[in-house]
Symmetry: C2
Subunit: 226 residues, 2 copies
DNA sequence: TGCAAAGATGCACACTCTGCAAAATTACCT
DNA sequence: AGGTAATTTTGCAGAGTGTGCATCTTTGCA
């Protein structure tokens, strides 16, 4: 045993640290260039040059050019899953997810500049927003599993009148379905919150919009007054 | 004014009909080839050849190769919007959307072969599912506008206790937010329904899954029993 | 029939992305 | 240290995607 004592900060060997640095450099370069010249006009060559690596290396890190505009923070998903697991047992799944996402979003918003740049790039070219959605979708399955684990562990079971099932099989199907649906809807909620917040030129605090969206979901999307 | 009286069946001149035919031929060729050889191994050249047009023409119809696997029915969105507008005023927005989507899905399922082929292709390569999502997202904005129009017209206003707003501005923001959220969540609901139905090898009727998902949404995503 | 508009096509060209093998870098051992 | 194995970076060749432009064919219409 040598000096592998610190595991709080930049853990891992030189190799992993360099890889993370390169990946981050590529992603940041991509976003900055896209914010300046428009995403469509940014070539892989330009991104690679800005990050100080070869074009070939770019494709060692990202399967697609667009992926560089999309991932930004690769560990966000894992952090969120942990937060869901760590949430107080009294919270319903929807509430737990809301808290976990709010914390993650609040943290992301602290890196102000890059975050807003990223939001602007996505807003400027919707097809990238779709890719972002797709990236989140990859996490969606894992997030659903965490939610399922939480439910099995028995956190805030059936706060509302528990839906009655006709057959056991039907209930089993629902238990499989519910976590997936919850994870997917939560992701959609984030997206709509960002879009609405962007559309209104940030006249309201982002977290307020986010909370309102979750309130609507928890209320079952009731019809608003005309 | 001449003979532009028929508007029910294959309307439009020879030009438009040919364009629709070419587009449909390309889309169908793409799906069939993808179902047989795997989507990644199908080149634009092969699709174009199967549809009897040049490669260049393919790109006159689709911006991207992947788009050919995604659109299938270009008018589905418009039909659904019309259905939302035509729904009985007694239905809540969520219910109206559920009915419209159920009708559209039931119709799509009647073309059995191509529909299932399409579902299989999308299930085989998730990144195409993302593109499909994206295509639906393009409709999402228009769908949201239709929902907003329905609400303004005053269909089933505030069935649940109407959420109280602190300020007028807050209510205005919510009115703008609600239709977007509803459209997006409904799209997500369809996706999850299809995924869950596919994952279970079609052991349940698709429309039953779909109905269950909407029931969960209407109930505010309550925690299921552990 | 003839003219104008719109679509289809071929061609050149830039860009994306993938193997493959060689060179450079890091990890780990004595 | 020094050396070897593992991993990463890089260049290169090549297939495939996507675009602008000029040309040719088809359709719409008088």
């Amino acid at each position: 045993m040598h000096g592998m004592s610190e595991k709080s900060a930049a853990q891992g060997g030189l190799r992993e640290r360099k890889k993370r640095a390169t990946r981050a450099a590529l992603a940041e370069a991509a976003v900055r260039l896209a914010a300046e010249h428009g995403a469509e006009k940014v070539t892989v060559e330009a991104i690679s040059a800005a990050a100080g690596v070869s074009v070939r290396t770019f494709f060692n890190y990202f399967d697609t050019r667009d992926d560089a505009f999309v991932v930004i923070d690769a560990e966000a998903g894992a952090r969120m899953r942990q937060a869901v697991l760590d949430a107080p047992a009294a919270l319903s799944p929807l509430q737990a997810l809301r808290e976990a996402m709010a914390a993650e979003l609040a943290e992301a918003e602290q890196q102000h500049e890059l975050w807003r740049l990223h939001a602007r790039v996505l807003h400027a070219s919707p097809h990238l927003l779709v890719r972002t959605l797709g990236a989140h979708m990859a996490d969606e399955t894992e997030l659903a599993e965490v939610v399922a684990a939480r439910i099995r562990a028995g956190g805030a079971t059936a706060s509302a009148p528990p839906p009655a099932f006709a057959t056991d099989e039907e209930r089993r199907g629902a238990l499989d379905l519910y976590p997936r649906l919850l994870a997917a809807v939560a992701g959609t909620a984030v997206r709509i919150s960002v879009e609405h917040w962007c559309a209104r030129q940030e006249e309201a605090a982002f977290l307020d919009v986010f909370q309102e969206v979750f309130a609507l979901l928890a209320a079952g999307l009731p019809a608003p007054p005309a």
